[in-house]
Amino acid sequence: MAKSTFDQENLDPEYFDSERYEHHVPVFSAGEVEGLTEAPQTFGWLAWKRFRHHRMAIIGAIGLVVILLLFIAGPMLSPWEFDERNIADRLQGPSSDHWFGTDEIGRDLFVRTAQGGLYSLRIGFIAAILATAVGTLLGALAAYFAKGTDIFISQVINMVLIVPALIVLSIFSKYSGGNATSLAIVLSLLLWTRIARVVRGVVLSIKEQEYILAARAAGASHMRIIFRHVLPNVVGPVVVEVTLLLGTVIVLESTLSFLGLGVQPPNASLGTLVADAKGNIDNDPIRVLTPGFFIVMIVLCVNFLGDGMRDALDPRSKNERG
């Protein structure tokens, strides 16, 4: 090995024989090494490889897909309309006719749960995406540029954190009419600070890494360093935080709707369904439990998924099976 590195021809060809070399690469099995020489492994492909060995994450992903399918396809299979009233059939329990029963004015609760669930998910995803975009950018800028930028953004974060969310939302709901997008925007404006604080902390440590100095020494600009070198290293912690945030948004939206401050009739969300049924909880607990069950399941699945994605997106984590 101590030969001059430039005369490759003189190197013992046996030494680098691919079959022998495989023994030094425990990460891949023999078959996969073959494929490697053809095309470079992309980051996404490797991440997927790790992800699919994460049992809880797969359960979470399958759970979410099942819930989504149920919410989307269910109403199509059901003969009932979202707003169709059948006073004669009011307050029925689950039956083959009305899978989840009916409410006080005889609307089919399965269709309402599916529609309400989609509405809740829509608000959750929009709010989580907006909060993540704003929080990641501001958190990264604060930590990277430090000094005045950091002080300013940190103070804004502190101010947002002390804003009492329920009061703001109750005032807001008076004017918004319970529109999903505007509700999501307001929720994201209240919640981006959680992401920003996590990102700020992570970036503070990343920017001291030598590879950032190396990138500067290679002539990269600040923006290039932030977007190409810093943010990809933030993805892991952020993904976990986003999934927790998505859970929080869905629960918070349900809380608001339960209090009558969120989604307004004729629209429904999982929260309003729980609220509608609460008066009758002693006689008819199933009407509260079905939307409640879906809230819990969605939040759980999303958190499992986030856990798996965090591990999958970290290129240093081992490709363990099981």
Binding site: Y21, T37, P40, Y211, L213, A218, P232, N233, P315
Partner: protein
């Protein structure tokens, strides 16, 4: 040295303002590097070697004051705007860092990082940059470069990673390579290989190199000229032979005495007594005086000037002339 040198540094001083006071990490340093030349900068930890290198690339931390002048290839580096500086970094001057474990971004493959370094400075297609990255990995002796390029840094050993760092540094054919302790974090056997790669690459590209190290053994094998730093100052500078065989400076001589010798039996290595001084509160006079076996009263009174003792050989010591006449530095 017929024409003007590639890099000319005059009276460079780098001072950090800290809560405890001003720390001068580099004091009045002047030196030159010609094209194709290898200059080794030697000194203990904290002697200002790395700070000098970072200041040359203007990568020093904020709250730093730099005075003096740095002329690179006819450009006054200290007067450049940040944007102009950026176009020089990585293209004309490239740097190899000490620890290859931390100097690569863990989320990208090695090939992507080299390709990225190319694309920062030249409008190249992704595929062309990738192909060049693979060629460069081959050049620095990474076996199976195609496959290795698509691996992440954590799948590389330390020596292979440092080779990849070298590949990244030379990807834009820089005129000056700054290698900041390129082998310190590596095993001794791997050190030799990496130095060989570095040497070959430097010969092949004809770039000048500033090799920062505290390993005199490394210097002997690869440098044209040597400059010795101590406590932010230049102690001695000269050709390789000047420093190794005709040193005129007590500090250089003490350093040389502290390396093990193959010939002759030494019972114990001669360490230099004491520790380097605090730069926050340097001793009066010569900075090496408290540890110097040749110190006289004059040394405490004034900081000696650096004086020329040969064609390109200079030493900073009050007793330079006496040492030349045969005063033994270490008994």
């Amino acid at each position: 040295m017929d024409q003007s040198p590639l890099l000319k540094v005059d009276d460079l001083t780098v001072a950090f303002r800290t809560d405890a006071g001003v720390v001068r990490a580099v004091t009045d340093i002047s030196f030159e590097i010609s094209s194709g030349e290898v200059l080794a900068v030697v000194g203990e930890s904290g002697s200002g070697k790395s700070v000098t290198a970072l200041a040359l690339m203007r990568l020093h931390p904020k709250n730093t004051e730099i005075t003096g002048s740095v002329n690179f290839d006819g450009i006054d580096v200290l007067a450049l705007s940040e944007e102009e500086m950026r176009s020089i970094r990585g293209r004309d001057v490239a740097m190899i860092f000490q620890d290859p474990m931390t100097a690569m971004n863990p989320v990208y493959t090695v090939g992507e990082q080299i390709a990225e370094a190319i694309r920062v400075h030249t409008a190249t297609s992704k595929q062309a940059a990738w192909d060049r990255a693979v060629d460069l990995l081959q050049l620095v002796g990474v076996p199976e470069p195609k496959r290795r390029a698509s691996q992440h840094p954590h799948e590389f050993s330390g020596g292979m990673r440092q080779r990849a760092m070298i590949a990244m540094a030379i990807c834009n054919d820089p005129k000056l390579l700054i290698a900041d302790e390129p082998t310190t974090a590596l095993d001794v056997t791997v050190q030799a290989q990496v130095m060989e790669v570095l040497h070959d690459v430097q010969q092949a590209t004809g770039s000048a190199m500033m090799l920062i190290t505290h390993d005199l053994g490394l210097v002997a094998g690869s440098a044209d000229r040597v400059q010795v730093m101590y406590a932010s100052r230049l102690m001695e500078t000269g050709d390789l032979d000047d420093i190794f065989y005709e040193s005129r400076n007590p500090y250089t001589m003490a350093l040389l005495n502290s390396i093990p010798d193959l010939e002759g039996v030494k019972d114990s290595l001669e360490a230099i007594p004491g520790n380097p001084p605090s730069l926050l509160n340097p001793p009066s006079g010569c900075a090496f005086r408290p540890r110097c076996s040749l110190a006289v009263d004059e040394c405490a009174a004034s900081d000696p000037p650096i004086v020329l003792v040969g064609e390109a050989h200079a030493s900073r010591c009050h007793r330079t002339a006496e040492i030349g006449m045969g005063v033994e530095a270490m008994s």
